[in-house]
Every structure is written in C-alpha cells, then in structure tokens.
C-alpha cells in the first residue's frame, strides 16, 4: 500500500496522498473501534454473566488502583484550593474556596483524574495481557474450545471497569475535597468547621451524579481501548508493548474528549 504512492512520485512522498491515506485510515479505525465496542457492549449486556471473571477483574481494576487514585486526588484537591484562593484573592472572593473545590472535584476533576490514572494503569495492563494472549495463540485456542473471547475476556473487563470506576471516583471525590481542606486549614488559615460546613452546604447530589455518570463512561473507554488494542497486537514483545502504549494514549485522549462532550451535555440539560 504505502510503497505504491512513493514509487509513483519518484521516491518522494506525495503529501496530498499521505494526508488522504491518513484521513481514510483514521475513519476506518474509528469505524472498526465502533463495531468492536458494539460487540463488547452487546456481549456485556446479555446473560449469562461470568461472575467469577467479573469479580476477579473488579479486584484487579478497582482495589489495586486505590493508592494511585487516592494520591492523585489529594494533590489535585490541594492544588485546586491553592489556585482558587490565589485567584479569588484578587477580588476578595477567597471565602468561596470550599464551594469551588467541591464543585470542581465532584463534577470534573475527581472523575477526570481517576479516568486518566486508570487509562495508564488499567488500560495498558489489559492491552498487554490480551496482547500476550493473542500472540501466544491463546485467543485462537479459546475460539477452538468454543469460548467466545467477547464473552469470556472482553465483556467481564468492560463490566468490571464500568462498575468499579464510579466507586473509585467516589473515593477520589472524598479524598480530593480532603486535599483542598488540608491546604485551606493548614496553609491558608481557614476555619476547619466553617470550611466543612460550606463544602457540605454547597455540594449537590446532581454534581456528584455528574461525576459518577462520567465515571461509567470512562470505565467503558478504559476497558474497550485496552481490549481493542490488545486484540490487534502484533507478534513479539515489541508488538505487545506497542499495543499497550497505543491503548493508553488512545484511552487518555478519549477520556478527555468524552469528558468535554459530557460536560457540555450536562450543562445544556441543566444538570
């Protein structure tokens, strides 16, 4: 494919041809990803469910991500409080720190930071695992033994991620708010009781729900990207490594993109 266009223009790559091919390639890739996602979601939503596999995956995805999610959240919350304080200070609005911290964390940052951290930890892990299974013919073996990889491998990971991410985001919300509180009380001389009361008074169920709905979507993105790239993995250690990298970058970008789309949507419907 690629050598045809270079040879025609006498060894020089043809820029228009290159752009055209890249665009077609991109659309083809998006199309394949959508079809693949449809198959994963279809298998995930139809019984019977492989509860053992789902539980194993929930532990792998959720439990072992707690430290990284907690650490990221506490730092994001702390930095957020500090910046809001600095900004608010310019027009005497520094008392709004608790309100904006809780809003920012629950609607936006708790979910995004969890999504991004898991795009690294979980997506790459899934891609490497599935990729290794692909190149050692284990996926072919599954099929010959009448086990559908969509049901046996991909759907449990998808379900586990969609169920676990909201729980992790709840943890991130709590720890993130706590990070803001720590900085405010110990660094910025806020009164602890007033800070917490303002946080709780200002926090709404809707804001928390927005974050949790995002979390479910991020869970889907994370699991699907990992499985998708893994199942396309080329042979060898480099093939599997490449699948892991591609999946991670793809998942991180998709987390941010779907986050923006959902934020727009929620604002428009008044959530």
């Amino acid at each position: 494919m690629s050598d045809a266009s270079t040879s025609k223009s006498g060894g020089f790559p043809n820029p228009l041809g290159w752009i055209g091919r890249a665009a077609i390639g991109l659309f083809a890739e998006i199309g394949r990803l959508i079809i693949y996602s449809g198959k994963v979601i279809g298998s995930a939503l139809s019984p019977p469910w492989n509860l053992t596999q789902i539980w194993k995956q929930m532990i792998a995805i959720g439990f072992y991500s707690l430290p990284v999610v907690g650490l990221s959240a506490v730092f994001i919350g702390a930095a957020l409080a500090l910046n809001i304080y600095t900004g608010g200070n310019r027009f005497g609005a520094e008392q709004f720190v608790p309100n904006i911290v809780v809003l920012g964390i629950t609607r936006e940052l708790g979910a995004t930071i969890t999504g991004l951290m898991l795009a690294g930890r979980v997506t790459a892990g899934i891609a490497a695992e599935i990729g290794a299974m692909k190149v050692t013919e284990q996926i072919d073996a599954l099929k010959t033994l009448s086990a559908n990889p969509f049901r046996y491998l991909y759907a449990p990971r998808f379900l586990a991620a969609c169920l676990t991410l909201p729980l992790l985001v709840l943890v991130a919300d709590i720890i993130g708010v706590m990070g803001g509180w720590l900085v405010s009380v110990y660094g910025l001389d806020f009164d602890s009781t007033t800070y917490l009361r303002n946080t709780i008074d200002f926090m709404t169920t809707e804001d928390v729900m927005v974050g949790l709905i995002k979390a479910v979507v991020f869970g889907a993105v994370i699991a699907i990207m990992g499985c998708y790239q893994g199942s396309l993995s080329k042979a060898g250690a480099t093939g599997v490594g490449r699948a892991a990298t591609l999946s991670m970058v793809g998942a991180a970008v998709l987390v941010l993109a779907t986050n923006y789309i959902m934020s727009t949507l929620f604002v428009n419907i008044g959530l």
């Binding site: 299974m133 050692t136 013919e137 284990q138 073996a141 010959t144 033994l145 009448s146 086990a147 046996y152």
Partner: protein
C-alpha cells in the same frame, strides 16, 4: 472411497501482498493420519487456521464431514469445533488457569460440567498422556515445555474429537521427549479412532506419525503419497526436504 472428514478445495489466502496459500487442495479420510511438510513460513499454520475457521479464506471451500463450513458462524461453527481438537504450535495453554482447568476448559465452559466431575475427567485424561494428578493444580508456567505439550495434547483429546490438528507438536523439544510425544500422539489418536493432520518439519516425526504425507510449497500441495513412498517420491522438492539439504529447488528463507 469414503467421504473425507475434512477437505480443502482451492483455498487461497493472502496478507496484503503476501500470497501465502495459492490454491491448496487436500483431504483426509476418517481415522487417517496425514502429515504436512513444509518450510518455515510456507503457510502451514495459516492452512490449519483456515480449516478451523480462525481465518476465512479469500477464496476456495472448506468441507467438514461433507458440509461446506467455509463461512459458518455461531452455532454451526461451534458444532464443527466441538468435533475437532487442536494442539497449537505454541501450546497456547491459558496461563491464568491451572493445568486441570486448561484440560477441562471445554467441559467447564461450553458444556457446563460440574467442577468436581470435570476435574476427575481432566485427571483421567492427564493420566493418558503420562502426567500424574500432582500436576493438575499447577499453573502452565510452573511445568516444563515437554509437560506443557502433554497438557495441550490432553486438552485436545479430552472431548474425544473426530479430527485432531497438531501444529508442530515436537518443535522445541529434545529428541527423546519429542519421540515420547510422537508415541503418545499415535497411541491416543489410534485409541480415539480419530483422523489427524499434523504439521512438522521434523522427518523423524513425520515417518512415525504418518499414514500419508503431503508437502506444501509456494502455497500449493506439490506432492502427496503414502508415508512409505517418501524416500522415493520422485519429487526434487520432497527429496531436498527429506534429506535436509540447503541446495536444491527450495531456497532457504534467510
């Protein structure tokens, strides 16, 4: 002649510009053992994967027990696979499952057998390939390459298939272990009365296992005959392969 259990008719398969299979015609009769020879990268594994429906041919037909299964999906495909065993080139044991769970995989998943019953069957089958019950609870990574091949063989025969594929069952093993695996294959295939297609580039294995031998070269079956004819095939390619010479019509792929 009896109806072949498996028949490939003019099967072609390319990957981009790499024209791997260029019209493969081969069949195997029930209970017969066919060995396919061919150099590295000649498309032997691709041929088996097409036969199993893990890849779809670009053109041509695959008949299983007289039925055209080339484009089968879902239930029909499952029905065919339930009657076929496959030993993959790399073993392809599931490394997240124990040895017995690997062996009993089809029983546990597709056939929903109770775990205790499935484990019993697995241990019984492991015994047939001369592995003791003590390995049943180990993981594939904890046993040697020769033992992994035996486990893979046990997994391929546990459901008593009518046709078994062996993709290079002895590569990577020392000659003594390889010979033991060959003996096991012959013994088990005979015991089941199954047909088998084995791929190998090991002549000692081929002579031992085969009723018939065929040779795949440049995407086609260029010779086929009874195993006893292999030393006087009258075909230069086969001769070169049998004697392992670097010079001749086949160019080494390095």
């Amino acid at each position: 002649m009896t109806q072949p259990i498996l028949e490939l008719i003019d099967v072609e398969k390319s990957f981009g510009s790499n024209h791997v299979l260029r019209g493969v015609n081969i069949d195997v009769a029930p209970g017969h053992s066919l060995v396919i020879l061919g150099g590295s990268g000649s498309g032997k594994s691709v041929m088996l994967k097409n036969a199993l429906g893990l890849m779809t041919p670009d053109s041509g037909k695959i008949l299983f027990d007289g039925d055209d299964v080339t484009y089968d999906q879902g239930k029909e495909r499952e029905a065919m696979r339930a009657r076929i065993g496959m030993l993959f080139q790399s073993g392809a044991l599931f490394d997240s499952l124990t040895v017995w769970e690997n062996v009993a995989f089809r029983l546990l998943n597709a056939e929903k057998m109770k775990r205790s019953e499935a484990k019993e069957r697995a241990i019984e089958t492991l015994k047939k390939v001369r592995l003791g019950a003590s390995v049943a609870d180990l993981y594939p990574a904890e046993i040697s390459g020769g033992m992994q091949k035996r486990v893979a063989l046990a997994r391929a025969i546990i459901t008593k298939p009518d046709l078994i594929f062996f993709d290079e069952p002895t590569t990577g093993l020392d000659p003594i272990t390889a010979d033991a695996i060959n003996d096991l294959i012959i013994e088990q295939v005979k015991a089941l009365g199954a047909a088998s297609i084995s791929i190998t580039h090991d002549m000692a294995s081929a002579r031992k296992i085969a009723d018939e031998i065929a040779m795949l070269f440049e995407g086609k079956i260029i010779w086929r005959g009874p195993a006893s004819d292999i030393d006087h095939s009258g075909n230069d390619h086969v001769d070169q392969f049998v004697h392992g010479r670097a010079d001749g019509p086949i160019q080494p792929s390095i």
